[in-house]
C-alpha cells in the first residue's frame, strides 16, 4: 500500500561534478514542491536551469545529493524499477522506440516489459491508436516516421501500462502546429478524463497557456515561481501597453504617470502602470491629441517569463 493522498514531496539539492577541476555545480539547489494527484504542472526554466536533472531525480535515474524525493510514495532512486511500473516518461529529444522495427513491435515489447495483460493491452492500444491517430503508421519502421509521428508513438509507449503519473520532458519540441495541437489535445483529455497526473517541461509557452493549471519556474536550480497563470501575470506586474497612432509624427505625448516607451513615426507606445484605468487615459489623450487608431496590449506570458528568467521583476 502506498499513501492514498498521492502527494509527491521533493526537497533536495544536487551537485553535478564538472570534469577534473573540482568545481561543483548546483544543478538543482534546494527545490521543493508537492504535486497532488490529478495536477497538470508546467515545469519551466531557461536552458540549464535544472529541469532535466529534476526529472531524472523524479524517475530515479539520478540520486539527489541531499534532500528527500518521494513519487507515488516511493523513493525513486531506491525503488527505480517498482516506480517505473507506475509512471510513464517521455524524453522529447530521445526515443524508447526501436529504430529499425515497425512501431507496432516497439509497443508489443513495451507490453512485455511492463507485463500488461493481453486484454488490457488490446483495449489501451485501441484507445491510444484512436486518440493519437497511430493507425496509418503502426506498421512503419520508426526510422521512417516524421518527428510528430514518432512523438505520438513515444507517448503511446509511455502510456500502455496505464501509469498514474506521466512525466514529459519537452514533448512538443520541434513539432509542427498540427502535431502540437494533437499532442496537446491528447494530454488535456488524458488529464481530464483519466485523472492522470502530468508534469511537463517545455519552452513552448503555448503548452503552458493551453494545458497547465499550475506553473513552476526554476532558475539556477532554485524555485523562481510557483502558482497558476493568473498569479504569474500578477507577480510579474500586470502593466499593459497602449499603442496610439497619432495624426502626425511628433514629440512623445505628455501624460502624467503614463511614460512613453517607444516612438516610431506617428505611432507611440505607452506603458500603463498596474491598476491604471485605460479608459481615462484614452480620454485624456483624445482631449489633447488627434488620434487615428488605438490598441491595448496585455503583457504576453512570454515577456513575463523572460523577465523572471532575467531576474528583474
Amino acid at each position: 500500500m502506498t499513501d492514498v493522498t498521492k502527494t509527491f514531496t521533493l526537497r533536495r539539492r544536487t551537485r553535478g561534478r564538472l570534469r577534473r577541476e573540482r568545481t561543483t555545480l548546483d544543478a538543482v539547489d534546494g527545490v521543493s514542491f508537492t504535486v497532488p494527484r490529478g495536477e497538470f504542472l508546467g515545469y519551466l526554466g531557461p536552458n540549464g536551469a535544472g529541469k532535466s536533472t529534476t526529472i531524472k531525480m523524479l524517475t530515479g535515474i539520478l540520486t539527489p545529493t541531499s534532500g528527500r524525493v518521494r513519487v507515488a510514495g516511493l523513493d525513486p532512486s531506491r525503488s527505480r524499477t517498482a516506480l517505473a511500473r507506475r509512471i510513464g516518461v517521455v524524453f522529447g529529444q530521445r526515443t524508447t522506440l526501436w529504430w529499425d522495427l515497425p512501431l507496432k513491435d516497439s509497443l508489443t515489447l513495451v507490453r512485455r516489459l511492463y507485463r500488461v495483460e493481453e486484454t488490457a493491452y488490446r483495449a489501451r492500444l485501441a484507445e491510444l491508436t484512436a486518440l493519437l491517430e497511430l493507425e496509418p503508421f503502426l506498421a512503419t519502421p520508426v526510422r521512417q516516421l516524421s518527428l510528430g509521428q514518432r512523438m505520438r508513438g513515444d507517448l503511446a509507449a509511455a502510456l500502455l501500462h496505464g501509469p498514474e503519473l506521466l512525466v514529459l520532458d519537452e514533448p512538443t519540441i520541434g513539432l509542427d502546429v498540427v502535431s502540437k495541437a494533437t499532442v496537446r489535445g491528447f494530454l488535456a483529455r488524458l488529464n481530464a478524463e483519466r485523472g492522470t497526473t502530468i508534469l511537463l517541461t517545455t519552452h513552448d509557452l503555448g503548452d503552458i497557456e493551453r494545458l497547465c493549471r499550475r506553473v513552476l519556474i526554476i532558475d539556477h536550480g532554485r524555485t523562481a515561481f510557483d502558482g497558476d497563470l493568473a498569479a504569474l501575470r500578477r507577480t510579474a506586474g500586470a502593466d499593459r501597453q497602449l499603442v496610439v497612432e497619432l495624426a502626425a509624427p511628433g514629440p512623445p505625448v505628455e501624460l502624467d504617470g503614463v511614460p512613453v516607451t517607444d516612438v516610431e513615426g506617428p505611432r507611440q507606445t505607452l506603458r500603463l502602470p498596474d491598476g491604471a484605468n485605460a479608459a481615462s487615459v484614452v480620454a485624456a489623450l483624445a482631449a489633447r491629441y488627434e488620434i487615428r487608431d488605438i490598441a491595448l496590449r496585455e503583457t504576453g506570458i512570454e515577456e513575463i517569463i523572460a523577465r523572471l528568467y532575467r531576474g528583474d521583476r
Binding site: 524517475t59 524524453f91 530521445r94 522495427l101 513491435d105 515489447l109 516489459l113
Partner: protein, 262 residues
Amino acid sequence: MGVIPWVSWYALRRYSAYPLGSMAEAVTNSFFGVVRAGIVIALWHARPGLGGYDTADAVTYSFLTQSLIGPVQIFGGMELAQRIRSGDVAIDLHRPVNLQAWWLADDVGRAVSTLALRGLPPMLVGGLFFTMRLPGPGEAAAFTVSVALAVLLSFALRYLITLSQFWTHDERGVQAVTLVLSLFLSGMIVPLVAFPEPLGALARALPCSGLIQVPADVFLGRRAGGALLSGLAFQAGWAAALLAAGGLLTRAAERRLEAQGG
C-alpha cells in the same frame, strides 16, 4: 515469460533489418579469409607442423575465425556505448529491467543474426578454393556450445569496457587499447598455438583466448574428452566472472551516474 527473451528476438530482427549491409561485410570477411589463408600457407610451408597444426588446420583456422568476427564482435564496441555518450542511456535506465541483462539479451540476438548472415560465406569460400578440415557431428555440437560461450564472454568484456565510460566520459581510448590486445590475444591475427612460449601460455590463460582460439580448436577437433570440457569450462568460468564484475560495475555506475547531455 519475462521480457528478456523478447529483447533477444527483437534484437535478432532489428540486426537482420539490413541484409545488404551484412552481405557486404560477409564479402569483406571472406576476402580477408583468402588473404590470411595465403599467408598461413606460406608460413606453414616454411615451418611445417607449427604449433601442432598442419596446413589444412591453419587454412581452416583462417576462414573459421573470419566467420567468427561478427558473432563475437572481435573489433569491440556496442550500441550502449553511443547511448551513454549521447545520454540516451537515461531511457535504458528508466526501464524496469536490469541494464546488463537487457543489453546481454540484445547482444545474443545480434550474435545469432550475424552468425546467420555473416558466418557461412567465409567458410563457403574457404571450402570452394582451399582444402579445409571439417568437424564431425560431435565436434560440431561442441563447437556450437563453444561459440555460444564465446558470445557471452565477448559481451562480458565489451560491457565492462563500455561501462568504463561512466567514469572516463569517452570509451574510445580504452577501446583502442583493448582492440589491439583482443585482436592479438584472442588468436585472431596469429593462432595462439604459434606464439613463442611463455607468451603463448600466458595468452591462452587470458579470457580473450576464449573468444577465438578455444572455439577454433574445438572445431578443428584438437580438444576432445577432458580437454574439451576444460576448454568449455575455461570460457564459462571467465564469462561468469566477467559478467559478475559487470553486475557490480552496473550498480556502481548507477550510483555514480552523471547522464551526459540533455
